[in-house]
């Protein structure tokens, strides 16, 4: 059938209720999916049904609703496992966001293995959520945090990275895609080289998950994290993938209900598998919503989503570049559909305010990536980030509004 093989962005837009609204009397051009994505009806309905029809706490009851709720929650874990091609559901841990996932690894794995002088290698591209947890654990353990530099285009410098790797390297934590400038990093090479050096690798896939298929068994990362709200799912849900043999050996992170085997004041033993890392009542309905979101994108297919986004990226780059005094920050060869830019003589904050009046939602600021801003010697940029539901009209609205910024600022 034709419908199945073509990508109809207008049809997709109708799946997202928010696009029926206007902003400041203009059609909404939502170009801030890098910060958080909009939700399709399929997700909203899954959330609503889970609360209104089958809600109860999971894992803890023999009664009917508890059983259904548990099946839905664990079913979501299986959806995530299959989507990531992880070997087992015990390798999929639900957290509250990508930030918690990274903190979990830093505090559990990092705390267990780091000794004074050990090195944790990050990169200049990282989001604060993949920097600060490592700084905090480094401070507690005496380990040292180092950052792989990037070049003028915003490319991860693989040669420098290889030089930095050594016997002291214990953990490498690198983003799959830069949220601020869109660079896609050479994760495969990064992982292989780290493994050769005997280090364990965490990949921050927060920006990759909405744009590409991710495959744990072919990638070989030891840990991989992403966050639900950026992949069209609810807020309050994150994912940590970890290789079973690592997770099994790791001490617990948060303590509480559901992560135990037996509690006494004298001695407590912990549950096996994913349960050890899910203390307390989990984000039940958020996981169910995330499962619906993943089913949604997979029905469309990441090959088509990717092609659509790359075409849009090319169009937007071309259009924006045609604007006088506009400078695109980050021009890596492989980029996701994210464009950071500055305008000579106009602060990004003012750009944001003015384009907003045109119905255009972009993000302005440091994008939680201050070391990257420092690298480009800017305090902030304006960033347009695209997703499967964006169309050329969104880009045209952006370009028109940027031109009106220039008009206002003369």
């Amino acid at each position: 059938m034709n419908d199945m093989t073509t990508f109809d962005v207008e049809k997709i837009r109708r799946d997202f209720p928010i696009f029926s609204r206007e902003v400041h009397g203009r059609p909404l051009a939502f170009l801030d999916s890098g910060a958080s994505a909009q939700k399709p009806t399929a997700v909203l309905e899954a959330v609503q049904k889970a609360y209104a029809e089958t809600y109860a706490n999971v894992h803890r009851g023999v009664h009917y609703l508890s059983q259904v709720s548990t099946e839905l929650y664990e079913g979501a874990r299986e959806i995530v496992r299959a989507h990531m091609n992880a070997a087992s559901v015990d390798e999929i841990i639900f957290t509250k966001n990508a930030t918690e996932s990274i903190n979990l690894v830093a505090n559990s794995y990092g705390w267990a293995i780091l000794k004074p002088g050990d090195e944790i290698i990050l990169s200049t591209l990282e989001h604060h959520s993949n920097i600060v947890p490592w700084q905090l654990i480094a401070e507690k353990t005496g380990a040292v945090v180092k950052a792989v530099p990037i070049d003028a285009h915003g490319e991860f410098m693989l040669d420098k990275y290889l030089d930095m790797l050594g016997p002291k390297t214990k953990i490498v934590a690198v983003t799959h895609i830069s949220n601020a400038i869109g660079t896609i990093t050479p994760v495969r090479e990064i992982i292989d080289a780290a493994h050769d050096a005997g280090a364990v690798v965490l990949i921050d896939g927060s920006q990759a998950a909405p744009h590409m298929k991710i495959d744990m068994q072919s990638l070989g990362a030891d840990f991989y994290v992403f966050t639900g709200h950026k992949v069209f799912g609810p807020t309050g849900i994150g994912v940590l993938y970890g290789k079973a043999e690592l997770l099994d050996a790791m001490p617990p992170f948060l303590g509480g209900g559901d992560m135990i085997e037996r509690v006494t004041f004298a001695k407590t033993t912990y549950a096996k598998g994913h349960a050890k890392f899910e203390a307390g009542t989990p984000p039940i309905v958020q996981a169910i919503g995330l499962g619906a979101a993943i089913n949604y994108v997979n029905e469309i297919g990441f090959d088509k989503i990717g092609a659509h986004e790359q075409a849009l990226l090319a169009y937007a780059t071309e259009q924006l570049q045609s604007i006088n005094s506009l400078r695109i920050i980050g021009q890596a060869k492989h980029k996701a559909a994210i464009i950071s830019f500055t305008l000579d003589g106009v602060h990004p904050h003012d750009i944001g305010t003015i384009v907003d009046r045109g119905g255009v939602a972009i993000r302005v600021g440091h994008h939680c990536a201050q070391p990257l801003m420092d690298h480009f010697d800017v305090a902030a940029t304006a960033r347009a980030s695209m997703a499967l539901y964006n169309n050329r009209a969104d880009i045209d609205a952006l370009v028109a509004s940027v031109k009106s910024v220039q008009e206002i600022f003369g």
Partner: protein, 151 residues
């Protein structure tokens, strides 16, 4: 294009932001404070020279920021020069209410008209912090004064 944008980005504002007044670090400043807006990374350093008579003899600033924050800082330095601490703080108080849209009968004496230029901010709640950053730094600078007097 949009009226409220024109109101926000008036000629005067743009002029102050492009050519900020008192954009310097006076050597004889005896009070200073640093302001920082973590949302956008903007910074401002406010320098004051308080005279023995309790008057602000000199006010200046340096920093990076958006048009609103630069214009507001620039106008502030002009306005508070020659005022007492209490007067300056009183003006800030009214100004803050003005940009938050909490006060409709703003009155800062001779400075009213000039400050009303920034009244457009009240339609842009996310920008209130930009408009008040330098003012907050100014009061911090004063309060760090060991012999702070509230008259």
């Amino acid at each position: 294009m949009f009226d409220d944008l024109r109101e926000l980005y008036q000629e005067v504002i743009l002029d102050h932001s492009k050519n900020p007044r008192n954009f310097r670090h006076p050597e004889d400043a005896n009070h200073e404070a640093h302001g920082y807006n973590p949302l956008c990374g903007d910074t401002v350093d406010v320098y004051l020279k308080m005279g023995h008579n309790g008057l602000i003899e000199d006010a200046a600033f340096e920093g990076k920021g958006c048009a609103i924050s630069l214009a507001s800082a620039s106008m502030m330095t002009e306005i508070i020069k020659g005022k007492t601490e209490t007067q300056a703080k009183h003006i800030f108080d009214g100004f803050q209410k003005l940009v938050k849209g909490e006060e409709n009968d703003f009155d800062a004496g001779e400075d009213t008209e000039r400050l009303m230029m920034l009244a457009g901010v009240k339609e842009f709640p996310m920008r209130v912090k930009c408009a008040t950053l330098a003012w907050h730094a100014m009061t911090s600078a004063m309060d760090d004064k060991p012999d702070v007097s509230t008259e």
